[in-house]
């Protein structure tokens, strides 16, 4: 077997049966080996960025390793945004690129780029394979690394001649037993018992560690009021009355208030990102903190914790659950208070009752949440629509909400939805996108057609880059700059050009029919939803301010009215 065949062999050993890629000169030996492979399904996207983001979406939805493949030079550089996206959100990914033949490296050969050098900051680890005999071990190590501890992308760059070389070595498959053990929980348990106003703060680390169930058991048993980060949405459960929803810049008043007033934060799998904490000095000013994370570099990074716990998350959560089962927390008054905030300070966008009125993003999203099946996967893009989904769609599982958190990559949604649909061909997958983001990877409509994927696309079209327009309005004196998209193509006609039927709606009374129609259709379908250009996401915290300084719509209106009067 040659080097290329050994790469496929590693896929077989690790049950990797779906990969996303795009061929070219230096990676041709791997594509040649694929011709004879009956196990691995290769999905041809229409741009390498689409491949990387589809692999990312596949990994998020399935919990398995996402794999993307490209050629050297432009193939590799096109992958970069997708790999950076996976890196920022700790998604397990394997990236395989062809490189110019060994003897040509460093000669400015055709389609040569220094992939290893260029990608150092966006990978968990990377390899330039110089000898085909390294391939079996490199593949083993790379797959293990991508998935272990804090997951992340691992990039393997292989010169063309190395792909063609015969391999004599075989993979060292000795599995190293994990040395991880549960840390001592005594102090954390005591802090939980002592707290009068404890708050459970969870992020993407819960599902990355495959700990959705132990987390849910802990949340239910402790009955602690809970807030989630953008990537933790779904952790606490749709029916949990103590779930206050997302905190932070576009978080709920209830969640931010609870953080402000709590006396103990139990942070699980979250890294205290600035979009979540707001101004750090003003974040949870009265709280002690227990921080649980797989990555020791995250502990004490931004805010010192009173207790840091690192170890197998399932064991930690189970240990805490057992302790609380035997001695329930005495936090009834605090729970009552938080539930009241939940009622008065949840995301309160009105369901628009006026049938002929224009559609609003929040009203649409709430209807979608009610109508879509419970296990639907929603892949968002980036912008206002992403925040409306985070605020108003009720998720019951974190893997049902695919969103680009750390990097905020416009163009993520459509390829990520494609990946998610490959992860489960029978699930309902919906890409909720904006007119700006949709155009960033619209070429992937061709991938949907090619593989007859039944996924649904909802374009919330406000004819502009809404999130940027909103910040220009609020923080730049309404000086609009380069945000107009009123020359968008006809999205309905565009979808049809890819054999994807499409529907346009613009009035509130059309929302239900629109959603029901696309969901009932046996195949891909696009729903084009016209919404007002001026609509904003509320509430909002000005970047750099404390979360206490939330501006909501009524305050904004009052301010405007006051200015008009003056």
């Amino acid at each position: 077997m040659n080097g290329a065949q050994h790469i496929l062999d590693a896929f077989h050993r690790h049950s990797i049966d779906t990969v996303f890629g795009y061929p070219g000169g230096c990676i041709m030996p791997l594509y040649d080996a694929l011709v004879d492979d009956v196990v691995v399904e290769h999905v041809l996207c229409r741009h390498e960025q689409g491949c990387a983001l589809a692999a990312d979406g596949y990994a998020r939805a399935s919990g398995k390793t996402g794999v993307c493949i490209a050629t050297s030079g432009p193939g590799a550089t096109n992958l970069i945004t997708g790999v950076a996206n996976a890196h920022r959100d700790s998604i397990p990914m394997l990236v395989i690129t062809g490189q110019v033949p060994s003897g040509l490296i460093g000669t400015d050969a055709f389609q040569e780029t220094d992939v290893l050098g260029m990608t150092l900051g966006i990978v968990k680890h990377s390899y330039l394979v110089t000898d085909a005999d390294e391939i079996p071990d490199v593949m083993e190590e790379a797959i293990q690394l991508a998935n272990s501890g804090r997951p992340g992308p691992v990039w393997i760059d292989v010169p063309k001649d190395v792909l063609l070389q015969q391999v004599t070595a075989s993979a060292d498959q000795t599995t190293r037993p994990s040395a991880a053990h549960c840390p001592d929980l005594t102090q954390a348990i005591q802090m939980l018992r002592d707290a009068r106003r404890p708050l459970l703060y969870s992020g993407g680390g819960v599902s990355l560690a495959h700990c959705e169930q132990p987390f849910r058991r802990f949340a239910t048993t402790s009955a602690m009021p809970a807030v989630v980060t953008l990537k933790g949405i779904g952790n606490a459960g749709k029916h949990n009355p103590d779930n206050l929803g997302m905190l932070g810049m576009h978080g709920s008043l209830a969640a931010n208030r609870a953080v402000d007033e709590c006396d103990l934060l139990l942070v699980v799998g979250a890294r205290l990102d600035d979009r979540a904490t707001g101004k750090l000095d003003e974040f949870a000013p009265n709280a002690r903190m227990i921080h649980i994370d797989a990555d020791s570099a995250e502990l004490n990074k931004l805010r010192p914790a009173d207790v840091c716990l690192r170890g197998p998350l399932d064991q930690i959560l189970e240990g805490l659950t057992r302790a609380i089962e035997s001695h329930p927390l005495a936090i009834d008054d605090w729970r009552k208070q938080c539930r009241q905030w939940r009622t008065t300070g949840g995301f309160s966008a009105a369901d628009n009752e006026e049938p002929l009125s224009a559609i609003t993003g929040p009203a649409f999203t709430r209807q979608l949440s009610r109508i879509a099946p419970d296990d639907a996967v929603i892949a968002c893009d980036v912008g206002q629509h992403q925040m409306w989904v985070a605020q108003h769609y009720e998720f019951d599982h974190p893997r049902h909400h695919l969103t680009s958190g750390g990097l905020g990559t416009m163009g993520f949604g459509l390829p990520a939805a494609i990946g998610a649909q490959f992860a489960n061909r029978n699930s309902t997958v919906i890409n909720v996108t904006g007119d700006g983001s949709f155009m960033m990877n619209a070429q992937e409509l061709a991938t949907i057609r090619r593989y007859r994927l039944p996924l649904k696309i909802i374009v919330l079209d406000n004819q502009c880059l809404g999130m940027v327009r909103q910040q220009q309005e609020l923080f730049y004196d309404n000086r609009e700059s380069q945000i107009d998209l009123d020359d968008n193509p006809d999205f309905v006609a565009m979808a049809r050009a890819f054999d994807i039927p499409a529907l346009h709606i613009e009035r509130t009374d059309q929302i239900r029919r629109g959603i029901e129609t696309i969901l009932a259709f046996d195949g891909p379908m696009l729903l084009h939803v016209a919404i007002a250009r001026e609509e904003n996401v509320w509430p909002i915290v000005k970047p750099g301010s404390g979360n206490r300084e939330m501006i909501d719509e009524s305050q904004q209106t009052t301010r405007k009215t006051r200015e008009q009067v003056a």
Binding site: G117, L120, G121, H125, Y127, L128, T130, S296, A297
Partner: protein
């Protein structure tokens, strides 16, 4: 020279052992830079399959944060702070 670089910055002496691989030093330097430190001096020795690297670093952020980021690199075997921080003046 900008205003900030004229100020005195704590300086640290860090020893690092890492596996000898194609991008070893770049990997190390990239993390040092992005985490807010400046390399004032660097000495490298190759010892069998390893590189022993001594770094004199300057930066105003906590050195422990850099240490934990370097320890995360897959090819880094060990990172140790050699002596207590000195304050070096960079003026003049």
């Amino acid at each position: 020279m900008n205003a900030q670089s004229k100020q005195t910055q704590p300086s640290y002496n860090l020893n690092c052992r890492m596996a000898f691989e194609p991008a070893a030093l770049e990997r190390l330097c990239q993390v040092v830079r992005i985490r807010g430190f400046r390399i004032a001096n660097m000495a490298v020795d190759s010892v069998g399959e390893h590189l022993d690297i001594n770094l004199i670093l300057e930066g105003s952020r906590p050195i422990a944060m850099l240490q934990s980021q370097l320890e995360k690199l897959h090819t880094v075997v060990e990172v140790a702070l050699a002596e207590a921080p000195l304050v070096r003046s960079r003026v003049g």
